[in-house]
C-alpha cells in the first residue's frame, strides 16, 4: 500500500545520446521495450538504447485491443504464444505494476460447419500441447455469455465456439509503462522523439544507426517497429515479404458490467470485449488496402456496429465514443518474422499483423537470448525470415484468418 501515495518517477527524463551502445533497439512499443527489459534482466546487458520516433507506446502498442491468448492453429504458433501467455500471467508481479490483466476467457464463434472444423483443428492442436482450449456447444456458450443472441433466426446463427478460458484482455499502456520503468531502473536508456533515419553497415555487418539527433555506433540493431518494419528494414536493404494495412477499432461510453467474456467472430469480422473501465472495445479485420495513412473510416463503424448488434441487440442505444486506427505489418502466412536477417547483427521483430501485442514478453525473451548468445532460440526458429526462401511457411490462416 505504501506505493499508493508516494510519487516516484517512472523513468528518468531523456538524456543526451551517447556515441556508442552495445545494442540499439529501434521502436519503443511493447516489443522494443520488452527486448530491452529482458536483455538487462536475463543477461545483464545494459549498454542499450531504445530509440522511439514519437512517445513510447505511440504505435500499435497503445492502439490495440489487447487480446491475449494461446489457442493458435499451428503447433509452432501455439507453443510460442502459450509461453507468452504464461509470461503475461507473471508479468504484473515481475514488473511490480498492475497490468489489469483480465483473464475473462475467449470465445471464437463458429457460424457454419466450416467454422466448426477450423475451431476443432485449433482445439486439437492446442490440447496436444497442453493448452486449455476446446470446442463447446450452444448450451455451454449460453452459460458463459447469456447475453448473446443464440437464436436461429439470425443471419449468422452461433453453432459452436472455441473456448479458451485463459484468454484475456489487459491494459495496453500499463504494459508499455511497466516495461519502460523496468528498463529504465536497470539502467537502459529510453530515447523518445528519436527517429532512426539510416542503418550503417560494413561488409554485411551492422555498425551503427543514423538518427535525427545524430549518429550512434553499435554492434547490434534490433528493429521492433511493427507497422513501420518495411521502412526501417529498407534502411538496411533487407526486403520483407510484408504489406502494411490499417486496422480500426472503437470504444463506447463506459457501461456497467454486461459482458464477461471476449467474443470473436471471424465470419462476421467483429470482436467485442468489455474493459475493466466499462467501455466496449470493438474491432474488425484489417482494411483490404495497403496504406500508412492512419485515417479512420466511417464504413468501418457501420460495419462493426451492425455485426455487434447481431450478436448483442441490447447494445443498440450504447454510444460510440472514439474510433482510431493502427498500422499492421501483415505477413503472408500470418506468422511473425523473428530473429536474424542477412545483415549480420541486424535482427527483426516484424510481421505482427493484428496479433503481436500478446507476443511481447516472449519476443523480448527470445530476442534478448539471441543477442546474448548469438543463437536463435528453438522456439522462434520456425519464424525466421529464411522461411520465405525455403518455403516453410507457418500458416495461421486456415480457411479464414482469426487474427486477434
Amino acid at each position: 500500500m505504501k506505493d499508493i501515495f508516494r510519487v516516484r518517477r517512472m523513468w528518468r527524463p531523456r538524456s543526451e545520446l551517447k556515441p556508442r551502445y552495445d545494442v540499439v533497439i529501434v521502436g519503443g512499443g511493447t516489443h522494443g521495450l520488452a527486448t530491452a527489459y529482458y536483455l538487462a534482466k536475463n543477461h545483464g546487458i545494459t549498454n542499450v538504447a531504445v530509440l522511439e520516433k514519437s512517445y513510447i507506446g505511440s504505435g500499435a502498442a497503445g492502439r490495440n485491443t489487447t487480446i491475449i491468448r494461446a489457442n493458435y492453429r499451428t503447433p509452432e504458433g501455439a507453443e510460442f504464444y502459450k509461453k507468452s501467455v504464461e509470461l503475461y500471467e507473471e508479468l504484473g508481479a515481475d514488473l511490480d505494476f498492475n497490468l489489469l490483466f483480465s483473464q475473462q476467457g475467449h470465445l471464437t464463434l463458429a457460424h457454419s460447419d466450416r467454422g466448426i472444423i477450423t475451431a476443432t483443428e485449433r482445439a486439437e492442436v492446442n490440447q496436444l500441447l497442453g493448452i486449455d482450449s476446446r470446442v463447446i456447444g450452444r448450451d455451454e456458450i449460453r452459460e458463459l455469455c447469456p447475453e448473446m443472441d443464440l437464436s436461429d433466426d439470425v443471419t449468422w446463427p452461433v453453432m459452436a465456439a472455441l473456448y479458451h478460458p485463459r484468454g484475456g484482455i489487459i491494459r495496453h499502456d500499463a504494459v508499455v509503462w511497466g516495461y519502460a520503468r523496468g528498463v529504465d531502473r536497470r539502467g537502459i536508456e529510453i530515447h523518445p522523439y528519436t527517429e532512426v533515419t539510416g542503418i550503417d553497415r560494413e561488409n554485411g555487418r551492422v555498425t551503427g544507426v543514423q538518427t535525427n539527433r545524430g549518429p550512434i555506433s553499435c554492434g547490434t540493431v534490433i528493429s521492433a517497429t511493427a507497422g513501420w518494419s518495411t521502412l526501417v528494414c529498407d534502411l538496411a536493404d533487407v526486403p520483407l515479404p510484408i504489406t502494411t494495412h490499417i486496422l480500426q477499432a472503437f470504444v463506447t461510453e463506459p457501461m456497467k458490467p454486461f459482458l464477461d467474456v471476449i467474443i470473436v467472430s471471424s465470419q462476421m469480422h467483429v470482436y467485442i470485449s468489455q474493459t475493466d473501465r466499462g467501455e466496449f472495445l470493438i474491432g474488425a479485420e484489417i482494411e483490404p488496402y495497403t496504406t500508412y495513412r492512419g485515417t479512420s473510416t466511417f464504413p468501418f463503424l457501420e460495419f462493426a456496429a451492425r455485426h455487434t448488434l447481431e450478436l448483442f441487440p441490447q447494445l443498440e442505444r450504447v454510444k460510440v465514443l472514439r474510433q482510431w486506427t493502427g498500422l499492421c505489418d501483415v505477413s503472408p502466412d500470418y506468422s511473425p518474422i523473428l530473429g536474424k536477417t542477412e545483415v549480420e547483427g541486424f535482427h527483426v521483430s516484424a510481421g505482427w499483423g493484428t496479433y503481436g501485442f500478446k507476443a511481447a514478453p516472449i519476443v523480448g525473451t527470445t530476442l534478448a537470448e539471441l543477442v546474448a548468445t548469438g543463437d536463435t532460440p528453438a522456439l522462434i526458429q520456425p519464424f525466421e525470415l529464411e522461411r520465405f526462401y525455403t518455403d516453410t511457411l507457418v500458416s495461421e490462416v486456415a480457411a479464414a484468418a482469426v487474427s486477434h
Binding site: 500500500m1 506505493d3 499508493i4 516516484r8 518517477r9 517512472m10 527524463p13 514519437s54 512517445y55 513510447i56 500471467e89 508481479a93 498492475n98 497490468l99 489489469l100 490483466f101 483480465s102 483473464q103 457454419s112 460447419d113 466448426i116 483443428e121 485449433r122 486439437e124 496436444l128 443471419t155 491494459r171 499502456d173 509503462w177 523518445p192 463506447t252 461510453e253 457501461m255 456497467k256 458490467p257 454486461f258 475493466d276 466499462g278 485515417t295 479512420s296 466511417f298 463503424l301 457501420e302 448488434l309 441487440p313 441490447q314 447494445l315 443498440e316 442505444r317 450504447v318 454510444k319 460510440v320 472514439r322 474510433q323 502466412d333 518455403d391 511457411l393 500458416s395 490462416v397 480457411a399
Partner: protein, 857 residues
C-alpha cells in the same frame, strides 16, 4: 422556478407534459427537455460523478458535458438537458447506489475508492495474484455509467438517407447561416446542419437538418449526420465548418459543485425554458459575451452579487458547498453567499471536425486557444471556429480547498495532473493516457484546453510546445443502432429456395448462401444417387463467361492446366492457383465456342475468382470480357444410374452415351427452358449439370422432381464426393496447400511456358513433397472429427480435413494431410478421436468406383 411567459420561449404552456423521475411525477410543457422540466421542478443534482460519486448538476445545458446523463425509458447515458421531454417518459438516475441525494458510493470522495488517486490501480492489487479476480470484479462494478437492459431487443427503426449538395454548412449560428445564405443566393444547393432544434422555418432556399450532429468529415468528404433515427450521408462539393466555439470551465477549488454553470446554461434556461436559474449569483467571465450574462440573470429575477472580469489578471477563486451543492464563492478573499456561479474561462474554437478532415491545429499565443490552420481543399471555416472572437485565460494557481477538477467526465483533478508530470508522463499524449483526461464522454470539449494549459504551466513550457492530442471521431457520441441501420444482413438464396423449404429441407450456410443440408435423411438421399437418381440445387456455384479472341490465351495463362487445346463442346476440371502456387479455388471450364468459355467456381470463391481474373487482365490487357452470371443462371445436378432415362423425355438433346460423352457440354432445352448441359460428376455417378436462366429455377426443378429423382442436400453430396476423394477447396486445402501436395499433380502442366504460380510449383517440385493429402479408412467404425489431429509420437503430424461414414462402403472414410513418407497405400496412421487415439489405413485411390466407370457409363 418558472417565469412568466416570455417572448421567444420554446415551451408551449398550453400543452402540459407529465413523466416520472425515480417514480415521482414531474410536470413540464411541450418544448421542455427532460432536464429543463426537472430543473423547473427544483431538481439541481442530476448525476453522480464517475470516480468520486460527487453530486453534479447541469453545467452546459447543451449536451456537451457528462453531468446530466440519466436513463430514459431504459436507455442509459441520455443527456437529459437536450432530450425532449415526452409524455410518460420513465427517467431514472444512473451510477448511484441509493439515490442522487444519498449515494452510498459517495464515500469514495472522502476516503478514496478504487480509482483514486490517479494511476492508483497500476500500483496496487498486484499480489497475491489469486486475489486479483476479486479486486477486478469490484473495480468493474464500480466503473461504468449506465446500465444496459439485458433483455432489450432491437427496435429496428433506423434509416439511412443520402444527400448530395453543392455546399454543406455545419453549424447554424450567425456565421454559418450567413455563409449558407450567400451560397444559396448564388444558386447553390445548400444543406445546413445544426445541433439545436430549429426555431421556426428554415431560411428560404436552404435544407436544414436540425437537431442533427455532423459526426465527422471522413475520406472523400463524406459527412455522416446523426438526426435522431436517421443517418444522413452528406456529400458536398464544398464543406463550410461553422461549429463556433466552446465555453470553457474555470479551474478553481470546488469548480464542480452543483450550481456552477457555464453561461450557455443560463441563456438556455432563461430564454428557451423561462426558468430562473438561481436566486443569488456571481458571474466570473473572461469575455464580453459571458459578462453580459449578468443582464440575462437580472432579467430573470436573479440577484447578481458580483461580476468579475477574469481578464484582469489572475484571480484567487474558491467555491464551497454543502452536500455537493454550492453555497458560496470566494473571490480575492471576498466571500459571496450564493446558489449560482456562472463561470467561463473563455471560448475555444470547436475545431475537431476540421482537424479530422486534415487541418493542422496550432496554438494562438495571443488568444490563448488552439486554432485550425492549413485547411484541406474544399473545406472552409467561418466564424469563431477560426479563432475569431475567442480566447481563454490561463489557469490560475489554485488555493487550498476542495478538489479542483480539470476533467469532469473522468474526475481528474489538478493534483492528478501534477502527479502524472512528477511521475514522468512528460508528454501530453502520455499524460492523457495515464490520467485519462479528455478520454471521457465530453470528448475533451471541456477539458482539453485546460489540461494543456495546466500542463504548460506545470512543465514551464509553452502551449505550442505541448501541442494537442489527436482529435478522434466521432465528434459526438453516436448510438450503435444508428450506425448499424436496419437490422438486416443480406443472405443469398437461389431461385429454387422455396421448393427446398416446402420439401422440408434443413438449411445451412455456405459462404453467404443458404443451402439445403438435407431433406431429412442424408444416408437415404446418398443411396438414391447411387441406386436411381438424385437432384441437387447447385445454383450457388460461381459462374463466369469469359469471352473474346484471347479468352483461351487468358485461361491458359491463369490456370496451371491446359485450356488452349480444349475443343468446343468439351469440359475440363480447373484448379486456380495463386502466384505463390497455392490453391485458390476450383471448378470446371467448358468451351462453348472458339471464343467463349463458361467457367464455374466454388460457391464461396466466386467473388475472389472474379477479382483475381480482373486483376490479372488489368496487367495482361488481353482482348476479352469477364461477365459474372452467378445470379442470372441457376443450376441443378441430376445424377445417378437412371439420370439418362429420367432426363431424356424432358430434353431435345441427344443423351445417347456416344452422342453425349462424359465431359461434353451441349446446349438445348430442358423442360422447354434453354439450358447448357454439362456432363460431369462431382458425386461419382452418371450426371448432368444443367445451367439455365434463374427465373426458370422452379420450372426446371419441378419437372425434374416429377420424374421421380430424389432431391438431395449438401450433406449427402459430401458423403458422395468423399467416396470419390473429390477435394473440397477451403476445407481439404488451406492457404498454404499446393496442387502437387494436394495430390493433383496431373492438373499442373509444367511444360507450358508460363502460368500464374509456375515458379512456385517448380520450387515445390525441386524441394520435394513434404505433406500430402490422402484418403484414409478407419480400422474400426468411428468417425474422427473434421479438423482432428493425425498424431505421430505424441505430436501433431497432420490433420483430418474430411470424414464421414459411408453407408455405400460400410466404412468410415476421410481425407487427411499426412507427412510424405506416410502417403503410401495401406500405411498405418493414428488419428485423435474424442481425445483418444484410433488407427486408420491410408488410401490413395477413390474409395468408390476407382476407375470412374460409372461416371463414364
Amino acid at each position: 422556478m418558472r417565469l412568466d411567459p416570455r417572448p421567444g420561449e420554446r415551451i408551449d404552456r398550453s400543452e402540459p407534459i407529465r413523466f416520472t423521475f425515480e417514480g415521482k411525477l414531474v410536470e413540464g410543457f411541450a418544448g421542455d427537455t427532460i432536464g429543463s422540466a426537472l430543473y423547473a421542478g427544483g431538481r439541481r443534482v442530476f448525476s453522480r460523478s464517475f470516480k468520486y460519486h460527487r453530486p453534479r448538476g447541469l453545467l452546459c445545458c447543451s449536451g456537451a458535458c457528462p453531468n446530466c446523463m440519466m436513463e430514459v425509458d431504459g436507455v442509459p447515458n441520455v443527456r437529459v438537458c437536450v432530450a425532449p421531454a415526452h409524455e410518460g417518459a420513465v427517467v431514472k438516475a444512473q451510477n448511484v447506489r441509493g439515490s442522487l441525494e444519498r449515494d452510498l458510493m459517495a464515500a469514495t470522495d472522502k476516503f478514496g475508492g478504487p480509482f483514486t488517486p490517479v494511476g492508483f490501480y497500476y500500483r496496487t492489487m498486484i499480489r497475491p495474484r489469486a486475489a486479483w479476480p476479486l479486486f477486478e470484479k469490484f473495480l468493474r462494478s464500480a466503473a461504468g455509467l449506465g446500465t444496459i437492459d439485458k433483455h432489450a431487443r432491437r427496435t429496428g427503426r433506423y434509416d439511412v438517407e443520402h444527400r448530395h449538395a453543392d455546399v454543406l454548412v455545419i453549424g447554424g449560428g450567425s456565421a454559418g447561416l450567413e455563409a449558407a445564405r450567400a451560397a444559396a443566393a448564388s444558386g447553390e444547393h445548400v444543406v445546413v446542419v445544426d445541433e439545436n432544434a430549429p426555431r421556426g422555418d428554415a431560411p428560404g432556399g436552404l435544407e436544414l437538418l436540425a437537431p442533427a450532429t455532423a459526426l465527422g468529415i471522413y475520406e472523400g468528404g463524406l459527412v455522416p449526420v446523426a438526426a435522431g433515427r436517421i443517418l444522413y450521408k452528406v456529400r458536398a462539393k464544398r464543406i463550410v465548418v461553422a461549429t463556433g466555439a466552446l465555453e470553457q470551465p474555470v479551474i478553481f477549488p470546488g469548480n464542480d459543485l452543483v450550481g456552477i454553470v457555464l453561461p450557455e446554461a443560463v441563456r438556455r434556461l432563461v430564454h428557451d425554458f423561462s426558468i430562473r436559474p438561481g436566486e443569488k449569483a456571481v458571474v466570473l467571465a473572461a469575455d464580453d459575451d459571458a459578462l453580459a450574462i449578468a443582464d440575462d440573470l437580472r432579467d430573470a429575477g436573479t440577484q447578481v452579487l458580483e461580476v468579475v472580469d477574469l481578464r484582469n489578471g489572475p484571480h484567487r477563486i474558491s467555491a464551497s458547498g454543502t452536500k455537493g451543492r454550492l453555497n458560496g464563492v470566494g473571490v480575492e478573499g471576498v466571500r459571496y453567499n450564493c446558489d449560482l456561479v456562472v463561470a467561463s474561462g473563455g471560448r475555444q474554437p470547436a475545431y475537431s471536425l476540421l482537424a479530422q478532415a486534415g487541418a493542422t491545429v496550432a496554438y494562438d499565443e495571443g488568444r490563448g486557444v488552439f486554432v485550425p490552420r492549413d485547411l484541406p481543399a474544399n473545406v472552409e471555416a467561418v466564424g469563431s471556429v477560426t479563432g475569431e472572437g475567442t480566447g481563454s485565460i490561463a489557469p490560475a494557481k489554485t488555493l487550498l480547498g476542495d478538489k479542483t477538477f480539470v476533467c469532469l467526465c473522468e474526475d481528474v483533478t489538478e493534483k492528478d495532473v501534477k502527479r502524472a508530470i512528477a511521475e514522468g508522463f512528460d508528454s501530453i499524449e502520455l499524460a492523457k493516457r495515464y490520467t485519462t483526461v479528455t478520454m471521457g464522454p465530453c470528448q475533451g470539449r471541456l477539458c482539453h484546453l485546460a489540461s494543456v494549459r495546466m500542463y504548460a504551466r506545470e512543465t514551464k513550457q509553452g502551449e505550442d510546445a505541448i501541442g494537442t492530442t489527436t482529435a478522434r471521431p466521432p465528434w459526438s457520441p453516436v448510438e450503435l443502432g444508428l450506425l448499424a441501420g436496419r437490422p438486416h444482413e443480406p443472405g443469398k438464396r437461389t431461385s429454387i429456395h422455396h421448393r427446398h423449404k416446402e420439401a422440408g429441407a434443413t438449411m445451412m450456410w455456405t459462404g453467404s448462401w443458404r443451402r439445403p443440408h438435407s431433406y431429412g435423411d442424408p444416408a437415404a438421399e446418398a443411396r438414391a444417387v447411387h441406386e436411381s437418381a438424385g437432384l441437387i440445387d447447385v445454383s450457388t456455384l460461381g459462374k463466369l463467361v469469359v469471352r473474346g479472341p484471347e479468352a483461351a490465351v487468358f485461361l491458359e495463362r491463369i490456370y496451371p492446366n491446359r485450356f488452349a487445346d480444349l475443343k468446343p463442346g468439351r469440359i475440363r476440371y480447373a484448379v486456380l492457383g495463386t502466384d505463390g502456387g497455392r490453391i485458390m479455388d476450383d471448378g470446371t471450364v467448358a468451351r462453348i465456342d472458339d471464343e467463349t468459355f463458361y467457367v464455374t467456381t466454388t460457391s464461396t470463391g466466386a467473388e475472389g475468382v472474379i477479382e483475381w481474373f480482373e486483376w490479372w487482365n488489368a496487367i495482361w490487357k488481353l482482348d476479352l470480357s469477364i461477365v459474372d452470371v452467378t445470379g442470372a443462371v441457376a443450376a441443378v445436378n441430376l445424377a445417378g444410374p437412371q439420370a439418362r432415362e429420367l432426363l431424356g423425355p424432358l430434353t431435345d438433346v441427344d443423351l445417347a452415351p456416344d452422342a453425349f460423352k462424359y465431359l461434353d457440354a451441349k446446349q438445348g432445352k430442358v423442360a422447354g427452358v434453354p439450358t447448357l448441359l454439362l456432363r460431369i460428376g462431382f458425386v461419382g455417378e452418371l450426371g448432368y449439370e444443367l445451367h439455365f436462366p434463374s427465373p426458370h429455377g422452379e420450372t426446371v426443378w419441378d419437372a425434374l422432381a416429377a420424374t421421380g429423382a430424389t432431391p438431395f442436400g449438401l450433406e449427402p453430396q459430401r458423403i458422395l464426393r468423399l467416396e470419390k476423394m473429390h477435394v473440397l477447396i477451403g476445407q481439404d486445402t488451406d492457404s498454404e496447400s499446393n496442387a502437387l501436395e494436394a495430390s493433383m499433380p496431373w492438373i499442373v502442366k509444367f511444360e507450358k511456358d508460363e502460368f500464374v504460380g509456375k515458379w512456385a510449383l517448380e520450387h515445390v517440385q525441386e524441394r520435394g513433397m513434404r505433406d500430402r493429402l490422402v484418403g484414409f479408412e478407419m480400422q474400426n467404425g468411428s468417425v474422427p472429427p473434421e479438423g482432428g489431429a493425425v498424431v505421430r509420437d505424441g505430436r501433431l503430424a497432420g490433420r483430418v480435413t474430411s470424414a464421414r461414414f459411408s453407408e455405400q462402403l460400410g466404412r468410415a472414410i476421410g481425407l487427411a494431410w499426412v507427412p510424405e513418407e506416410l502417403a503410401v497405400e495401406d500405411a498405418d496412421i493414428t488419428l485423435r478421436v474424442s481425445a483418444g487415439l484410433e488407427r486408420a489405413k491410408v488410401r490413395l485411390r477413390p474409395f468408390f468406383d476407382p476407375e470412374g466407370e460409372r461416371l463414364r457409363s
